[in-house]
């Protein structure tokens, strides 16, 4: 029996954000925007969804009089990401054996 793929992670932009954050301690909103080539509006919506799911922490502050948003993956996010990758591998393994 296959595990269902996590619907929060099984979307292109949200998965891209999580894949970026899994490798770093924390990242600026502009860094994520630059690496994903997403629009600011779309990125904001997806970041908010990940935050609501408890997968990332979002910290808003001012740096040199400019607003700065930093994102950081949570332990819950790491666990969900690992489970998602494991489920993907299972699907792909079965695809190979067929």
């Amino acid at each position: 029996m296959f595990k269902d793929l996590d619907p929060i992670l099984h979307s292109q932009l949200r998965l891209a954000i999580m894949s970026l954050l899994i490798g770093v301690q924390e990242a600026d909103f502009t860094f994520i925007k630059e690496k994903t080539n997403a629009t600011a509006g779309n990125l904001s919506v997806q970041v908010q969804k990940l935050k609501e799911a408890g997968y990332i922490d979002v910290n808003k502050q001012f740096k040199d009089n400019y607003p700065q948003t930093t994102c950081k993956i949570t332990q819950q996010g790491i666990t969900a990401f690992e489970a998602y990758v494991k489920a993907l591998q299972e699907y792909l393994q079965v695809g190979k054996t067929k």
């Binding site: 292109q12 894949s19 997403a38």
Partner: protein, 226 residues
């Protein structure tokens, strides 16, 4: 990038691509290494020239290392301003350099304080040291430098524990490391008898207590997995 649904293959490709992109975003400017390499290099070579040709430039050249702290502050501020993401590797490297800086301060303190501390301990024991030049027969007070291996060991004990403590944000190791540095500073003013006691306390705070805490967590996790 759109917010579209992906198949399994595309998901795996995207994960790999993004992890590679995150990795590629970090570049060392090399400014700090160039700064400190130049300062230590110049100071060492000038010191050698002074000693070999027996002359003095009028000030201690090693003071340029203190002057190098000022541009270092500017470099750090500038680099932090431009930083858009912090990698885990970078955080670990920061821990290594932080502990290195602390240890350099401790060793500098040690080499400067030991002559004074040695004199103080000798006078406490009611002894004085004199040296006599065989050729001229001249006698003068000797400047003592009694090395304290136990003090140096305390710095070495602290290095790995504090580095791991900072990198993993594990408080017992952080505390253990700082206790070792504190005991090192105290040991510069005490006799050998106290220094070996400090080594014992250092070992307990640095390894035994964090080790017991880690063991407790390990056993708890193991019991949970059964």
């Amino acid at each position: 990038m759109e917010d579209k649904q992906l198949n399994e293959q595309e998901s795996l490709q995207l994960i790999t691509e993004m992890i590679q992109k995150a990795k590629g975003g970090f570049h060392e400017s090399g400014s700090s290494a160039i700064l400190w390499g130049s300062a230590v290099g110049i100071a060492g070579i000038v010191s050698f020239i002074e000693s070999y040709w027996n002359f003095y430039i009028g000030f201690d050249i090693w003071f340029i290392l203190f002057a190098a702290i000022i541009p270092q502050i500017f470099i750090s501020i500038k680099e932090n301003k431009n930083k858009k993401a912090i990698s885990r590797e970078e955080r670990n490297m920061d821990a290594v350099w932080m502990v290195y800086a602390l240890s350099i301060i401790a060793v500098t303190f040690y080499t400067n304080i030991m002559p004074w501390a040695s004199e103080r301990l000798a006078s406490g024991e009611g002894t004085q040291y004199w040296k006599r030049t065989v050729a001229t027969g001249a006698v003068e007070r000797m400047r003592l430098f009694v090395p304290s291996a136990s003090s140096v060991y305390l710095i070495i004990y602290a290095i790995p524990t504090l580095t791991v403590g900072i990198a993993r944000r594990f408080k017992p190791m952080l505390i253990g490391g700082f206790v070792c540095y504190a005991l090192f500073f105290a040991s510069c003013f005490t006799s050998f008898t106290w220094d070996i006691l400090f080594n014992g306390i250092g070992g307990i705070c640095n390894w035994l207590i964090p080790g017991l805490i880690l063991r407790k967590r390990f056993l708890k996790q193991k019991a949970g997995n059964v």
